[in-house]
């Protein structure tokens, strides 16, 4: 037993622990907490909280807790007698724990326990099981025996009960805090399909997935990250489908993170992606539980993070960014058409201004004569070269968009009207820019909104400027150079062992069923070969529905 609790040095907090100590052994009842990263019990100048065991002396425990929770006004401590015989103390955090439950059920039951029972319990000290069996009115109970896990339980919203004469405490699950209701997804709304979205509460999110995948094969491992935020992160996968190497790798990367806090899934994304220097997003995120469930069914691994409605999906390939979950809920002709349209939009968003600049600057001969004359007469009197003109307009567009994103909605609308109509119109009539250029930039903007994934659209926005400069200096040859460099770069990327451009490069013909077109559900017989190869068969063969053989009743004899 180390001395009285003191605050550890900052450096000690972040020292890497060689192997997580045997904590969590005691709360095997309730293994919700993972291993926290950091904190070293052997070499640190101050022992970690886990070193402080609970003692049988209630007063001593409470003194230490007093030190630990000094000046924490939201921590509530309440002492009372269990059945007028054992002195007990309750500790919970106001607002995180269900006060009504604690007051109405827990305290009342414990206080009103029969006195003889309490006395017999007091004699059989160190036998917490008896307490649980005889007086405890709650089901979700964990035994804690050190300050570390006690504090962690309290901070997670549990109520901890310490009894005089017992060197262990009971952590009772009373978690209930204010959170948003499950609403429609904001970033990925659909016309047809489930309308539930993840919320900021991790437990609700895991429930949303569990409700869709009712199988014990759906595993949910918890990792606790963030020295101060103690964010619970759930690693979820279907054990029969996910590649164990990928699961192991995800777990390894998550556990090697040493950080003070995790506030959004982007923190995790940036810390576990394969190519941190690439401009391309390598981990897909979604706020739709059905999308996560579909990904898990393909053999992917989901990462849910407490405090954010966005879940991560790994491994991710490029085509996922032009797929939307609604593709699978609409008729496949339409879905395939929309996918092709999105692919075209992706190319327009990246290339259209560059191509326009290249054509008007270097390759005028490409245009049909009529069009060439039109464009040339529009550009007549414009004082800038096409490149500068394009850069100016693109920059204006980006500024308008950026200004509109953060403003409250009514102001944002006014701004977009001012920006789009007034500035655009005025710039054209002042012949600062040509009308054709306005059309090009507007088309580009619309196309970049047509990309289902916002993170991919951002990347394209950035690359568009590079392509624009290449086109303005070297014409089509510059565009081609840029495209080749992007192609090579995309080919070097991998996401958890899966080539980023799969199944296009390396080529896998059977996986083309879900790239630019979506084949009907009854033809989607296998999982993506790079990801779900452990159990490639997805459904029975020959599922294509047919009308029954004798759908028309045979005409009755003698009639007609």
């Amino acid at each position: 037993m180390p001395g009285p609790y003191r605050r550890p040095l900052r450096a000690a907090l972040f020292r890497r622990r060689p192997k997580p100590a045997q904590q969590g052994k005691q709360d095997n009842n309730k293994d919700k907490q993972g291993q926290p990263g950091g904190g070293n019990s052997h070499t640190a100048p101050y022992p970690s909280l886990e070193e402080y065991r609970l003692t049988a002396e209630l007063k001593l425990n409470l003194e230490q807790l007093q030190t630990i929770f000094a000046r924490c006004s939201d921590v509530i401590r309440r002492d009372f007698y269990l059945g007028q015989a054992i002195k007990v103390a309750l500790i919970y955090i106001d607002g995180l724990a269900d006060k009504k439950l604690i007051e109405d059920t827990l305290v009342r039951t414990l206080q009103q326990a029969p006195e003889e029972l309490a006395r017999s319990l007091a004699e059989r000290t160190r036998d917490l099981t008896a307490v649980m069996e005889m007086v405890m009115p709650m089901t979700d109970v964990a035994v804690v025996d050190n300050m570390g896990s006690l504090v962690k339980h309290v901070l997670n919203g549990d109520t901890v009960l310490i009894l005089n004469g017992f060197n262990k405490g009971l952590a009772l699950s009373t978690r209930a805090w204010e959170h948003r209701a499950v609403e429609e997804p904001i970033t990925e709304s659909v016309v047809r399909g489930p309308r539930e979205s993840f919320i900021e509460s991790l437990r609700t999110n895991t429930t949303l997935i569990r409700r869709r995948l009712k199988t014990p094969s759906l595993k949910m491992e918890t990792v606790c990250l963030g020295r101060y935020t103690m964010t619970n992160i759930v690693l979820t996968y279907i054990e029969d489908l996910a590649d164990p190497a990928v699961v192991r790798e995800v777990r390894r990367r998550l556990e090697s993170i040493q950080i003070d806090g995790v506030l959004e899934s982007a923190y995790i994304e940036e810390l576990i992606e394969d190519n941190p220097d690439s401009p391309f997003p390598q981990i897909d995120h979604t706020e739709r539980p059905d999308k996560v469930a579909a990904a898990l069914l393909e053999g992917r691994v989901g990462i849910l993070i407490d405090g954010t409605p966005f879940a991560l999906i790994v491994p991710t390939v490029f085509v996922q960014f032009i797929q939307a979950s609604e593709d699978y809920y609409e008729r496949y002709y339409l879905s395939s058409f929309l996918r092709l349209a999105r692919f075209v939009a992706l190319n327009i968003a990246l290339l259209l201004p560059a191509v326009y600049v290249a054509v008007t600057t270097f390759h005028q001969e490409m245009l049909p004569t009529n069009l060439l004359v039109k464009v040339a007469s529009q550009r007549e009197g414009i004082p800038f070269p096409a490149l500068v003109e394009a850069l100016m307009l693109e920059l204006t567009f980006e500024l308008l968009r950026e200004a509109g994103v953060r403003l409250p909605r009514p102001v944002g609308q006014a701004l977009s009207i001012v920006g789009a109509l007034v500035i655009g119109e005025a710039a054209v009539s002042a012949s600062l820019v040509s009308p054709a250029m306005v059309i090009v930039v507007a088309m580009t903007g619309i196309s970049s909104f047509a990309t289902p994934s916002y993170s991919m659209a951002i990347t394209l926005r950035l690359l568009r400027f590079i392509m624009l400069i290449l086109a303005g200096t070297f014409g089509f040859y510059g565009i081609m150079l840029g495209l080749l460099a992007i192609l090579v770069h995309l080919n070097t990327l991998r996401s958890f062992g899966v080539p980023y451009l799969a199944p296009v490069a390396p080529w896998n013909f059977s996986d083309f069923k879900d790239v630019l077109v979506r084949v009907p559900r009854w033809a989607m017989n296998s999982r993506p070969s790079q990801i779900g190869y452990r159990d490639p068969v997805r459904q029975g063969a020959g599922l294509k529905p047919k009308p029954p053989a004798s759908s028309n009743p045979a005409p009755e004899r003698g009639k007609s």
């Binding site: 049909p368 089509f476 040859y477 081609m480 080749l484 490069a505 390396p506 080529w507």
Partner: protein, 365 residues
């Protein structure tokens, strides 16, 4: 010196197409018609048959030394010193070949597309991107071909289909007007391009499974013969043998004549785009092979640090080698056939003979 990562037999054969086709479709038809006139397409087919012999040599060597590159089994066959010297000859030959390709590429772009831009700019920029690709290894180059190959094939089909209105069947008649000799001469000119199948002896070591290398060679050669024959045939059918000899960039001119209604015109820009992508693969692949070979000969563990300096040297050599495009043509007509025949055919054949006589193989290890 091992490359980590493997490529599939299909990728190997497509890489072979990219190692030969891009420059061949541009320069070869004009040179061929100079010798073989309207029978050039026959010369292409004969040259393919002839290229089957070095392909067989490569295949037999690969069977003797599976998982070994050309540079490695040179040393295994000929011993330490002689092996290193021969391997170095191969490295230099590939280096020279790459310089020719870079120069052809940049000369074409300056002559046909952007006459005011110095050719050195094109050479430097394409080699910079190729260095980026080669540094990332064979797998990445192979995956790039997976992406570009469908575009290339679709483009061939579009050009040849839409050029049909301009074609006239009389252009390939009379058949064998001057006997077989000019056709054989044409095959010899085709050789510098076709003989590059030897590049499969280097990256073929990374084909998985190694036994399917034969399949890669056959499909690779057949594909090359098919596309090259079609383009040559198309050029002769559209322009006739007389006019074709004066077109330095025959494939490009073929794309220029394509016109469909008032809508599909000026398709040659697309040709440029896809052709640049093709030559890019060719240069990246050659650069990779040169760097890999040099690393093998010098016993380095990594080839990656060599790629960028070799690329820079390659550009310098490309700038130094010829004065203008006519010199390239002259070189391709007179010097290259003999030189390439030496290192792409006779040298591997000698290697195979020595290996056979000394009974060397590295199988089952």
């Amino acid at each position: 010196m091992r490359e980590e990562g493997y490529i599939s037999p299909r990728q190997a054969s497509v890489l072979l197409w990219f190692a030969i086709l891009p420059t061949a479709i541009l320069f070869l038809p004009a040179l061929l018609t100079l010798r073989a006139r309207q029978d050039s397409w026959l010369a292409v087919i004969l040259a393919t048959l002839a290229a089957g012999i070095p392909a067989l040599v490569i295949y037999l060597l690969a069977l003797r030394f599976p998982h070994y590159t050309l540079f490695q089994y040179c040393e295994l066959i000929l011993g330490h010193l002689a092996g290193k010297i021969v391997a170095m000859v191969f490295v230099l030959a590939f280096f020279l070949l790459n310089a020719v390709v870079i120069r052809e590429f940049s000369e074409f772009l300056t002559t046909a597309v952007m006459p005011e831009t110095p050719f050195l700019f094109f050479a430097c920029s394409i080699v910079a991107v190729a260095v980026y690709a080669a540094r990332n290894g064979l797998e990445v180059i192979a995956r790039c071909t997976d992406f570009i190959m469908p575009l290339l094939v679709a483009f061939f089909v579009v050009i040849l289909l839409f050029a049909t209105p301009e074609m006239s069947l009389r252009n390939i008649l009379p058949f064998l007007e001057n006997g077989i000799r000019p056709v054989l001469g044409g095959s010899l000119i085709t050789w510098p391009f076709m003989g590059q199948v030897i590049i499969l002896a280097t990256y073929g070591a990374f084909v998985n499974p190694p036994r399917s290398l034969g399949w890669s060679l056959i499909t690779g050669l057949l594909g090359i013969a098919f596309f090259l024959g079609l383009v040559t045939m198309g050029v002769i059918l559209v322009f006739g043998a007389c006019e074709a000899t004066s077109l330095t960039f025959a494939g490009y001119n073929l794309a220029r004549v394509v016109s469909l209604g008032q809508f599909l015109e000026r398709i040659e820009v697309l040709f440029l785009a896809i052709w640049v992508a093709g030559v890019f693969i060719k240069i990246a692949l050659n650069l990779y092979v040169v760097a890999l070979g040099l690393a093998t000969v010098t016993g380095l563990k990594e080839y990656r640090p060599l790629v960028a300096p070799l690329g820079a040297l390659n550009v310098a050599l490309a700038a130094y080698m010829y004065r203008n495009i006519s010199e390239i043509r002259q070189d391709l007509l007179t010097v290259e056939p003999g030189w390439t025949l030496t290192w792409q055919f006779i040298l591997p054949l000698l290697l195979l003979l020595v290996a056979w006589v000394r009974g060397q193989r590295r199988t089952g290890a």
